[in-house]
Every structure is written in structure tokens, then in C-alpha cells.
């Protein structure tokens, strides 16, 4: 028999700590750890995917629960989900960074009235500049965003950083902290009502570990 809950697990930076947590909750992840290619693990009740897809699966009810970063949830804030628990791990910060030395974004804003900002998080970036009353042209990129200010695509970047190593290696410095992020446990609203017993039992175990 399949387990009562299906959980969407993010591959990538949160993967190992998420599996460790599931182990402590009594969900066997051995199969998931040893199998890079497989995506659906029915016996464990786990499906794996990139972190930004977790809200999609959970909102649609294809998974009852999911784990993903607060950064992903902020970027997809229109989704109809319950955010149940701050899991505490996967700590990182969304920052505005530019090349070291005189701040080229500030200079662009002063002299041109607008700064160009490259990011993988266009909605978080847009909201941040709207809230701080500054004009910014948001340039969405999919890959290594650190390249944008070095190649002259943008004056600054909005990106997630954990240790700051990648920024430093590319000669970038943090100018502003926008929001801190950690891993969150999310739930499909209908599952939250109809599988209340199983979900609450899991939350209780979560309190204990």
C-alpha cells in the first residue's frame, strides 16, 4: 500500500538536508538517495523535482506536501498554498549586488534615473524597487546572473546568496539585503483539510525531531 501522503522534494541545494529530515520523520529515503535519475518513489511517497516546480505540483494537488525555499514562494506568491512550517535550514539571503568599488547602479540611478538589474527573480526584484521607490529595468536571465554586470548587460543583480563566495569570486559586493530565506513546508489546501490526520501526525513528529 502506498503511504497516505505524497511529498514533493526539491533536488539541488535543499536536497540532502530535506532527505535527512524525512529520515528523522521515519520516511525511508534510501531509494531516493541512491537513484539519481528516478523521479517518482511511490513506496516512500516522494516525488523529486527542481525547487521552483514544488509549488506547482503542490498547488495542483499532484503532491499533498512539499518543501521549497521561501525565495521560491515569494517569487510565486500568487499560488494558492498553505505555508505550514519554517524548517530553518537552507538559509540564504536575497541581495542586490554590484561590482566592487564605486556603485555603478547608484550612479546609473543618479545620472540616468533608472538602473538595469539582472535577476532570476523578476518579481521579488520588481517588488523591492517599487517598495523602495526607485526606477529599475529588470532583465530576466536563466543562468549565471553574476555574468550580467561583468559583461555590461546590467549595473547590478538581485540574487540569492548563502556564503557570498560566488559573488566574491566574480568581484561583486552586496549593497542591500532584500529578504532572508529558509526552507518551508507547504501544503495543498484541499489535502490539508482531507488528510488532516496524516498531516498533523507529521507536524507533531516534526516538533519532536
Amino acid at each position: 500500500m502506498n503511504p497516505p501522503l505524497r511529498i514533493a522534494v526539491p533536488r539541488g541545494a535543499l536536497f540532502n538536508q530535506t532527505l535527512d529530515l524525512l529520515d528523522r520523520l521515519g520516511i525511508t529515503t534510501q531509494d531516493v538517495r541512491t537513484n539519481d535519475r528516478k523521479l517518482l518513489f511511490d513506496e516512500a511517497g516522494i516525488i523529486t523535482m527542481r525547487p521552483s516546480d514544488v509549488p506547482t505540483y503542490v498547488e495542483a494537488g499532484a503532491a499533498d506536501l512539499g518543501i521549497t525555499g521561501k525565495d521560491v514562494l515569494l517569487e510565486q506568491s500568487e499560488r494558492d498554498l498553505y505555508e505550514l512550517v519554517d524548517l530553518g535550514y537552507g538559509e540564504c539571503t536575497m541581495v542586490l549586488a554590484t561590482v566592487a568599488g564605486a556603485d555603478p547602479a547608484a550612479e546609473a540611478l543618479r545620472r540616468l534615473g533608472v538602473m538595469r538589474i539582472a535577476t532570476k527573480y523578476p518579481r521579488i526584484a520588481t517588488r523591492h524597487f517599487l517598495e523602495t521607490g526607485r526606477q529599475a529595468e529588470i532583465v530576466e536571465v536563466k543562468g549565471s546572473v553574476e555574468l550580467a554586470p561583468l559583461a555590461g548587460l546590467a549595473e547590478g543583480i538581485v540574487d540569492l546568496t548563502a556564503s557570498g563566495t560566488t559573488l566574491k569570486e566574480n568581484g561583486l559586493v552586496v549593497r542591500e539585503e532584500i529578504v532572508r530565506s529558509t526552507a518551508r513546508l507547504i501544503a495543498n489546501p484541499v489535502s490539508h483539510k482531507l488528510k488532516a490526520g496524516a498531516i498533523d501526525a507529521l507536524l507533531e513528529r516534526l516538533d519532536e525531531v
Binding site: N2, D42, E59, A60, G61, A62, E78, D80, L81, Y82, E83, L84, V85, D86, R184, N188, P189, V190, S191, H192, K193, L194, K195, A196, G197
Partner: protein, 324 residues
């Protein structure tokens, strides 16, 4: 060259229409048998009719001007037009009044989400009947209609729109900003944010725990015990409704103390229809005891609307089950 449709709208072809028609025919038979006469109101209303209703969400999204410059809207639900209808065409008729409808409503959509701008609602309104009997009658017809449609595993979440605001009152959480922030976190389903806001209030640990646990409390009649003490009154209302229900209806009910969403005009009992085969609610309803008064005929009222396309999806999903 193909002429495109506006996003969020679509054509309905014979295979689908036949299935939808079969569902609405079965539901209509239940409504009619229960004494709910079908009404139809225009898709266009004056904007002022909808502003009267003080809706928090689900307000009309589409406006047009008539030849005199008046602002018309495409109706965003049928409850407000029926409230208008009662005050104009039934102003001297002895309540209770029972109406049903099968009509399209129009809402704005979030882009790229497969949401419908135009959707068919099937619903009833019972006007001039107090809680708990009126609420119980409507819940019974809701379950009869879903049974007749052929839905098997559905459940109805029952909550109380006044419950959480009352709880905030009792704990003396005052100031519109603080309350607004707390209710926003709750409506967004962000329990992490709710915890942050509640912690910032500096209440006693017991009171803070109450504010955090009540909205996550859902389940059978046993969950009403959580309300003993400070919220005894709210529990009384839900218990009274539950006591009125026949076992086949009562067994479908999940008490859901966190059910706070709605359209702003709900005043007491609120309910939402779920099916485990489908990740989104299929219907919504509740008491709106103040709405008719806005239209000059103060009467207590209760009703629900089913989203017919979602009901159809749930029926086909029940046939298929979740792929494993």
C-alpha cells in the same frame, strides 16, 4: 489565419456540453424538487449594485459604458444580483424565498494559470431563514445535489466567518493595522507569517497558542472541543447546525475553524466543497445575513454556488484516481 479567443475563455464542443448538461440536469432536478425556483438575471448590472455589497474579493473585473455613460459590470457572482432582485421584485412577499440559478459569472484571472474568466455556477439562495435550520437546509441540498451529480468522495468543510475576528476581539487585539495583517496572513494560508505576527503581539503563551492553533484545527465534531472556553459561542452555532443534519449529510462535514476566506459579505457559517480527487475547491457557500439589508430588505440569508466545470473535472478525476 486563426482568430484567437481571449485567454481564460474557451469554446465548448458537443462531447463536453453533453456531459455538462447531464450534470446540470441532475442538479437542477434536486433544486426544483426542494422548492427552489430557477431565476435568471442579466449578465450586465450597474456597477453601483456590486459596490453596495462591499465585497473583499471576487469583485467584478470587467466594465463597460452604456450609451449614457453609466458604468456597467459583468456580474462576478449571482448572490448580489439575487439580493437586488429580492428587494425589487419580491419586496412585499412573505419570506422565506427559495431560488436556484444556472448562470455564468465573470472574474479577472491571473495570467497563464488556466483560470476561467467566464464560468458556469449552479447554486441556490435561501432568503429569510435563520440559522441553524436555514443553514442545515442549504447544506442538505448541497449534498443531495452532489450525490445526484454522481460525486462520491466529496467532503464539505464548515467554518464560521465570525470566529477568528471574535477571537481577536476577546483577546483584545485591536488596531486595524494589526488585525488586518493577521487576517491577511490567514487568508494567504501563511502560518509562518501568522506566527510572526502573533508573536509580535506579546500575548500570554496560552492566548498566542490559541490564535495559532485554532485556524489549523479541522476534523470531526471533536475539534469543536478546542473552542470550549473563549469561543464557546462560535462552537454553539456550528454544533446547532450539525445537530440539524441527517446522518448522511453530517458524515460529509469537516469542521474547519480556519475557513475564513470568502467574499466579504459572509457573516456566519461558511462552507467549501472538497474532493480528494481534485486539488481545488469545487464550491463555496455561507450565510450573508447583512447583504439583503444593503438592498433595503433586511433578511437573513444563506446559499452556495458550485463551479460546474470544476465539478465535472472532479467527477472525471474520481473515475481516474490519482496516477501512481
Amino acid at each position: 489565419m486563426t482568430d484567437r479567443l481571449p485567454s481564460g475563455t474557451r469554446d465548448f464542443l458537443p462531447d463536453e456540453m453533453r456531459e455538462l448538461r447531464a450534470v446540470t440536469d441532475r442538479v437542477r432536478a434536486v433544486f426544483e424538487r426542494a422548492g427552489y425556483g430557477e431565476v435568471y438575471t442579466p449578465a450586465l448590472e450597474y456597477e453601483t449594485t456590486f459596490t453596495r455589497a462591499h465585497m473583499d474579493s471576487g469583485r467584478p473585473a470587467y466594465r463597460v459604458f452604456d450609451e449614457h455613460g453609466n458604468v456597467l459590470v459583468l456580474r462576478s457572482d449571482m448572490t448580489v444580483p439575487i439580493a437586488r432582485l429580492v428587494s425589487t421584485r419580491y419586496h412585499d412577499v412573505e419570506p422565506p424565498l427559495r431560488f436556484c440559478y444556472f448562470a455564468h459569472a465573470y472574474r479577472g484571472v491571473r495570467p497563464q494559470r488556466g483560470q476561467s474568466r467566464e464560468f458556469l455556477q449552479a447554486g441556490i439562495e435561501l432568503i429569510g431563514a435563520e440559522s441553524p435550520q436555514g443553514t442545515a437546509e442549504v447544506l442538505t441540498i448541497l449534498c443531495d445535489a452532489l450525490d445526484a451529480a454522481g460525486l462520491k468522495t466529496y467532503r464539505v468543510g464548515l467554518g464560521d466567518a465570525a470566529l477568528y475576528p471574535n477571537l481577536l476581539d476577546r483577546l483584545h487585539v485591536e488596531g486595524p493595522d494589526r488585525r488586518e495583517r493577521i487576517l491577511t496572513e490567514l487568508a494567504d494560508g501563511d502560518f509562518v507569517g501568522l506566527q510572526r505576527e502573533v508573536t509580535a503581539l506579546g500575548l500570554s503563551p496560552d492566548d498566542a497558542a490559541l490564535l495559532l492553533t485554532v485556524p489549523q484545527t479541522r476534523g470531526g465534531p471533536e475539534v469543536l472541543h478546542a473552542l470550549e472556553g473563549p469561543l464557546e459561542h462560535a462552537a454553539t452555532g456550528m454544533r446547532a447546525v450539525h445537530a440539524e443534519l441527517a446522518p448522511n449529510v453530517a458524515n460529509r462535514i469537516i469542521f474547519d475553524l480556519g475557513l475564513v476566506r470568502g467574499l466579504g459579505y459572509y457573516t456566519g457559517a461558511v462552507f467549501q466543497v472538497y474532493d480528494p480527487a481534485y486539488g481545488v475547491p469545487i464550491g463555496i457557500g455561507g450565510r450573508y445575513d447583512d447583504l439583503l439589508g444593503q438592498f433595503g430588505r433586511p433578511l437573513p440569508a444563506v446559499g452556495f454556488s458550485l463551479n460546474v466545470e470544476r465539478l465535472h473535472i472532479a467527477l472525471t478525476s474520481e473515475e481516474r484516481g490519482r496516477p501512481t
